[in-house]
Symmetry: D2
Subunit: 369 residues, 4 copies
Amino acid sequence: MIAVFGDETLIAGAFRFEAALARASAAEGFIPAAAAMVIAQACAEATFDPVILSEEAAHAGTLAIPLVRRLRELVAAEDESAAQFVHFGATSQDLADTALMLQAKAGVELIRREGAALTTALERLSESQAEIPMLGRTLMQSALPITLGFKAANWLLGVEAGLRRLSREADEALSCQLGGAVGALVGLNPEVVGRVALDLGLSAPPMAWHARRDGVAGMCAALAILTGDVGKIARDVSLLAQGEVGEAREPVTAGRGGSSAMAHKRNPTGCQVALSAALRAPALASAVMSGLPQEHERGLGGWQAEGPQLATLFELAHGALSAMAPVIAGLEIDPQSLRRNLAAAAVGDDTGHAAALTRAAIAFIRRDT
Amino acid sequence: MIAVFGDETLIAGAFRFEAALARASAAEGFIPAAAAMVIAQACAEATFDPVILSEEAAHAGTLAIPLVRRLRELVAAEDESAAQFVHFGATSQDLADTALMLQAKAGVELIRREGAALTTALERLSESQAEIPMLGRTLMQSALPITLGFKAANWLLGVEAGLRRLSREADEALSCQLGGAVGALVGLNPEVVGRVALDLGLSAPPMAWHARRDGVAGMCAALAILTGDVGKIARDVSLLAQGEVGEAREPVTAGRGGSSAMAHKRNPTGCQVALSAALRAPALASAVMSGLPQEHERGLGGWQAEGPQLATLFELAHGALSAMAPVIAGLEIDPQSLRRNLAAAAVGDDTGHAAALTRAAIAFIRRDT
Amino acid sequence: MIAVFGDETLIAGAFRFEAALARASAAEGFIPAAAAMVIAQACAEATFDPVILSEEAAHAGTLAIPLVRRLRELVAAEDESAAQFVHFGATSQDLADTALMLQAKAGVELIRREGAALTTALERLSESQAEIPMLGRTLMQSALPITLGFKAANWLLGVEAGLRRLSREADEALSCQLGGAVGALVGLNPEVVGRVALDLGLSAPPMAWHARRDGVAGMCAALAILTGDVGKIARDVSLLAQGEVGEAREPVTAGRGGSSAMAHKRNPTGCQVALSAALRAPALASAVMSGLPQEHERGLGGWQAEGPQLATLFELAHGALSAMAPVIAGLEIDPQSLRRNLAAAAVGDDTGHAAALTRAAIAFIRRDT
Amino acid sequence: MIAVFGDETLIAGAFRFEAALARASAAEGFIPAAAAMVIAQACAEATFDPVILSEEAAHAGTLAIPLVRRLRELVAAEDESAAQFVHFGATSQDLADTALMLQAKAGVELIRREGAALTTALERLSESQAEIPMLGRTLMQSALPITLGFKAANWLLGVEAGLRRLSREADEALSCQLGGAVGALVGLNPEVVGRVALDLGLSAPPMAWHARRDGVAGMCAALAILTGDVGKIARDVSLLAQGEVGEAREPVTAGRGGSSAMAHKRNPTGCQVALSAALRAPALASAVMSGLPQEHERGLGGWQAEGPQLATLFELAHGALSAMAPVIAGLEIDPQSLRRNLAAAAVGDDTGHAAALTRAAIAFIRRDT
């Protein structure tokens, strides 16, 4: 995920945008076909040092300025007359936003993959432990019996809801950005937008969304909530793994969970990663929401703040999923502690409809497949 | 909206829950039908002082304790044997969450009503001004021409996306809460949940969501984003209404927008309300997201923090919509200033495809109706 | 604290401001002494329905408009010629901000009182339990021995640091607001500001801070951090009170901590209140910080958003302190569980310098008294 | 600032900690003086690949594990018997927190330097323009006259207050962390803490603050507020630089502020950087505050989340200051526009006490020097 949101991937996305723009503009007759071919070729072959380009972008206030300048040089070296058609009709933010959405699209794929690993592990845990009684706890106090599968099914429902929300928001947000200086497509036409979108595997918005950041904010919120859904599992596992409780603990992973001061300890490092992510994510989403009231056709400071927040949110959600999927897949359960703590609470053994609800939850999850 | 989230409505919702629970429990044979009738009757007639009850709830840590005690007294006065069947099988949080969802359902309706008023006004503005040229601005600088309808269409797309998100999230979140102490439905069965949900016009979740707050968090995020979508309009209107720009200003509303120091001023008070709401809302949503990693079957402190945040978010979103709907409906446009500022910028008069994009945006909005 | 930030107190503060302004303006010769007397008298006697006034304020966009209008009527009834000198030279925000600071000053006093109750209880606990061994825990795992007093001393240092920060920020922030329309004191002079400040027990700022909200933001941050410092105690107490740990629990408070589903339970309701507050507070502070880049001499939407956030932050900090002070003062410690859990962890009994550090911490706390 | 919070500097700080710990432990007789010399020598010479070490740290869940292992190997190569005294008595978090505080100390220095550049520029602007009339604006509307120096003096007071707050918080927070596994200094003594602190130029806390994060939270809040104080300037400058206002604009900086779509534009890129920072910073601070209720002696997930937030906050505050210092130093003022807009507003030319207040503000700023 760090690679997906790295400078190299961003630059690669920027070149994909410029190539798609050139092809689409040529197809609609705005630029010569020959120029489009030279531009697309240059985009495919261009290799710029991402560190230098990032510094230039930081200075210029936008990536497009130095990237387009260099691309024009490359194109001009091949065909002087084609250089003027680089970035034709587009504005800096068209490039920046479309490249960001290409990164986001790849990010959603990675999240789905890790999400599937976690939900699969949760389904197995729910099913196999549907009937295993354990103590339920409320307000941090011993309460009444549940089953372990019931507990896992609740985790599962949370993560699945979080993944579905992200899919919904991605469907809304993953559209290409192309409007030119003020979004009015001066020098281009709406068909170009459709072509660029098709070329890049993004949707085509009815109008450029330069200053309408609802979709990005929705995706950020979905990532933060998903991270919190995973954090819920981590909270519970870390509570169950306490010395006095001892009902479950993270599997051993070589080189992980050790202590520099206490050799005997096995720390719940997977939970730590997920809880830390769940603590950081909501605020990042809130910063993006705070930036929604942007100025006029393209704002000052608002959308420029979104990239780092979105990237970090993808990293946090992905990190939390990646940390907890193996924890759940290999969760070490101590049946004796489960029984001992339940017995010690002296609250009987009536688990009510816990097993049936567990199966209902699993059926609910599988409803669409 | 303040009434919807007031103590009286909360208490009324709590009684609706208790009545529905009694009826459903009787239908499934868990409590006598006669007892259910007495309980439902008492719920319908009960009138408690909301101030006193709120204080008792604050002291007890939950509304259910004092409310159920008083309801039992009322029922016992009618039929001693029925009192034991009040709140049968339920836990405090079942009542609190279901009552909150009933409030949220009413809140969503109010938002939809105000949202429709705003989108209708925006559609009209977009359509009637689709061809009126004005200066587009980017990064707070004069840029190139757009049309006023194009600007309004962008606002419209934002608000419509925000309203759709809220609908999606409400579909997910507005379910009844019923699980008993640890969610395992001890003493009841899943069918009771279905009946209570049907009775109250909420959906029935596959399992109780006492510690799975994904849905509430999603609704909070949707409200915050919607508020930001409206705040975007307010930002632009307040910029257009500056003395040196003078392109648009809020309509006169008696008693609003005056200044205690400068009698000649007309302040953009509608924008002020919306911008203030857009500033406050994201943080409230973030606090709810931060609370997602709740402990075990029912957490400590996390869900108890949600009620006030959700209520305030509904108030802010509703307040922003209510403030801006009349502003847009009565927006005073100064054609002369539009022309003067565009001419002064000396950027020509090519509005590109602004008008066509405006119409495309309106068509997009109307696609489902 | 709810009373301190209620509408009645706000209105009372507004009258105190108007009275002080009239006296100061007269002392500096800007308005007739007789008019000032009539105005001050009217302010002292005025009683307006806070509900009606709040509604009018919400409509007008500021409290000053309806309040000054009514005050002028009262004054005019007494002395027609004096009415024009009401609110002389001031702007709405002068009144609103000064009244808010008067509320904040009272709020700080209440916090100090509750803070002293909590720190006194913590000092006692630290001192009396300085040598009592217990299991220390890190990363939610059993670690090595500490003492109970050592644990409490850490809580104490946190709360004391939080209270000191609030005092520092209050020293910065609690100044009167008076600048007139744009802060330039047209029609008044800087000496009037000094006189009003003295009259009201606030400091006099070098310039009006209408759009310079650094002080308010600092106070909000200090309240949020203090709430988190108290939340840390609640986190630990709730962990120690778990059934399997059983080392400490909240004292019994009549009518508090009960469960509507499980009669045997004793819920840590004090901790719940504090944890809930600690979850809500940071976001409120962040919203105020987000509003710092306000526009020009007096902004639109930014400062108007602060009042509710500041009020809620005072309530949350005060609520957390009030909830935890009796919990610590009456904390029920189970020496047997302390010993059993420590022994079960098999980590020896070397508490290192825990007792000495505890005493050092207490000495540090007392350094200034 | 990016270098200060880079992996290399973190690792260098970790080595400084280990060297100081070895020297202090030897001075207090806990480890042999010869071993301390070998360890300190190894720390001074060690060069590890920061990329590899960061990956190992991410996997282990803490930097200390791989770093201490490698340091032990280096020391053992020199003197087998000394290796056991590496990291003697310390825990992972001692190293992590102390290294973070060393970074923070360097960060505060950089902030002070940039802060001085900005305040110097603001003082000059205030002084030189103290008498230059301009239009004051409130609620985004034309209001009454002020002077340009008065406006700048308000900016100055904000930034100065923000810098003072950061100094206060740094005084509280910049202390070394040393407590061993649970903070009880098993195997060491409090004097070692004092020695390590002295060696590293940090203060010595009365007790380890592993789970008492009040100081870090305070520093984060101070950085966020300072960023907002600078954002306020950027907001105003960007408003003054609008085409229709034209009263001030950013100086030309080669390669900055260009537009890829409109060659004629000069974008306020410095303001963009500062506004973007002011949008992102508050949420980061809020995440750290949310983490205050950490568990027991050293928490799970809470403090691990702080490093990235604190680092980003330093970068944002520093970035905002660095962006705005040259903007203010070279601010291009258009006297004609100042006069034209003031005249057009037809609000007279009485600037009240604006000039006197400006001078009072400058005197206030200089009071301590």
